[in-house]
Amino acid sequence: MRDRLLKYFLVFPAIFVVASTAFWPLFQSFYLSFREWKLNRARESRALWEYEYDGLENIAYLFDNYLLALEDDLFWNSVRVTSIFTVTSVLVSVGLALGLALLLAPGGKFRLTVRTLLILPFAMSPALIGVSWRFMFQPDFGLFKAFFDVLIPPLADVDWLGDANLAMIALVGSEVWHWTPYLTLVFIGGLATVPQDAQEAAMIDGANSWRIFCDVTLPSILPVLAVGIVLKTIFSLKMFDQVYMLTNGGPGNATQTLAHYIYFNGFKYYNMGYASAVSYLLVIPMFGLTWLYMKLVFLKR
């Protein structure tokens, strides 16, 4: 009967840690987003609601940090960059991973050996991936220059990280390298659950492999596919490490993601109130996606 107490005693420390390391900062950021605080100038923050304005203006000024963001071209630029990055990296990595999973799903020594490689990129520090890809894109002695020198000479002298569009391709490339092998492993796991007899029955009925894929395989791995897509989307929206190390948002602001924009405003300009407000603009879509992800993961339980 003492179990009744014990069970709460056992979860309490975990609740305490999660509350103080995740929920407290979440609430605190929200609170800060309604204050004016440049860390390099003022010792204390100033609440926006303490300013005296006339009537309706009061409300507008309360949301000053948010309104400033909505008026800032660089904010919208980072929204655009994050969207492009997210859509392309999700499409490319999920698409490639699905194809590779189909190729690698049948057993055999050769395929199993290659499968053991798939874990490597995901175990690598994203910061290191960013640095090493910058090294590979180095215009004078990088790997890509060497590669194109031999195969496609016109591309050899391209300065990848110096051009807005090419820098984005480089960034997406490094992220595809990071995530595709991992997603492949996830999808291989999903393919293992495809009912064998349904596949065989379709084969006996004379269906070609494309039909089998559409009618049998795809429907049964759809839940896993959805989990992979939402997970990758969430991580893409938060993208920071490789941006910082590979392009540092450049050239200009061509690859500045939202997380990088927040970092810059918070920790280079020390504009804490503003950075908090922008980070909340990132948190809101994240709430929706997280809810969707949880639905997908816990649906079958």
């Binding site: 179990d3 014990l6 069970k7 709460y8 979860v11 420390p13 975990a14 390391t21 995740a22 407290w24 900062p25 979440l26 605190q28 950021s29 800060l32 590779l100 190729l103 050769f110 395929r111 290659v114 798939l118 874990i119 175990a123 690598m124 520090s125 910061a127 290191l128 991936i129 640095v131 090493s132 090294f135 590979m136 180095q138 004078d140 790997l143 390298w177 092998p181 991992y182 492993l185 996830v186 796991g189 293992a192 659950t193 839940p223 989990v227 992979g228 997970l231 929206l237 490490d241 910082y244 997380a259 927040i262 970092y263 804490m272 950075a275 948190v283 994240m286 997280t290 949880m294 993961v297």
Partner: protein, 275 residues
């Protein structure tokens, strides 16, 4: 006959694509590894054949780079993080697995959902707090923030392992007159130990590779390996040979750890959506 040769061609094509994939995965890794053993001159000349040298590994451990300090920081921070997180997570996981509580599901899902809070949101208030407390640039500060990163994964993974332990053995011990506490300590924990260690390794990898928290909270004394990568600049530019040598120190131990827990690594990250 025609069909047979067509199949053979398809098989060949498949093997070719799989080989290309392997190359695609390995080349960036090889690029770092080979760079680490090259002299600076060989880096500039893009040589395929070069005389390997261990010099870079000596240089990075000397002043001004002192990579050993960063190695110690990375190890201590990741180790302390899991030493705090794993016992706490194991307790909670046992409770979630074995007892029914009011609002249990909501509590559980909410804890898991915190893994998606963007790191920048978490680090902003912590930066201000640590600055007021005067503990910026300490390993302690980094460990505290890292807890937010590993807790949801640790609880999720360990709960899965405890779920798979049959209730019979616990019940038998309870009938024999052991207290619940004794049962947890003497029956459940030994059986869950491999799972707890697996979760610990997984969280160690997360903490080891963590970048944004360390970038913001540490400046000098508590700098970890990934942040330390930015140190290798000189007047003549970026010192790629040294970055590569440091890169090996960062990635190689994680390759080993991830390979050991391969299957669980995939499940841990997707929260077991994949079996």
């Amino acid at each position: 006959m025609v069909k047979g040769s067509k199949n053979k061609f398809l098989d060949f094509l498949q093997i070719l694509v799989i080989l290309l994939t392997a190359v695609f995965i390995l080349v960036p890794i090889y690029w770092i590894v080979s760079g680490a053993f090259k002299q600076q001159v060989d880096i500039f000349q893009l040589k395929l054949l070069f005389t390997p040298t261990l010099e870079n590994f000596e240089i990075i451990f000397r002043s001004p780079y002192n990579l050993f300090d960063k190695l110690v920081n990375s190890t201590l921070v990741a180790l302390s993080t899991i030493l705090i997180a794993i016992p706490i997570a194991t307790m909670a996981a046992y409770s979630f697995s074995r007892f029914r509580m009011k609002g249990e599901r909501l509590m559980f899902v909410t804890i898991l959902a915190t893994q998606f809070v963007p790191a920048v949101v978490i680090v902003l208030p912590f930066f201000i707090l640590f600055r007021d407390l005067g503990i910026l640039d300490t390993r302690l500060a980094l460990v505290l923030v890292n807890l937010s990163l590993v807790m949801p994964f640790a609880i999720w993974m360990i709960k899965g392992f405890i779920d798979s332990i049959p209730l019979d053995s616990e019940e038998a011990a309870l009938v024999d007159g052991s207290s619940r506490f004794q049962v947890i300590l003497n029956v459940t924990l030994p059986m869950a130990l491999p799972g707890v260690i697996t979760a610990g390794i997984f969280c160690f990898i997360l903490a080891w590779n963590e970048f944004l928290f360390a970038l913001i909270i540490t400046t000098n004394k508590a700098v970890t390996l990934p942040v330390g990568l930015s140190l290798f600049h000189a007047e003549e530019g970026v010192l790629w040979h040294l970055i590569s040598a440091a890169g090996i120190m960062i990635m190689l131990p994680m390759f080993v750890l991830a390979t050991i827990i391969q299957k669980h690594f995939v499940q841990g990250m997707t929260m077991g959506a994949v079996r």
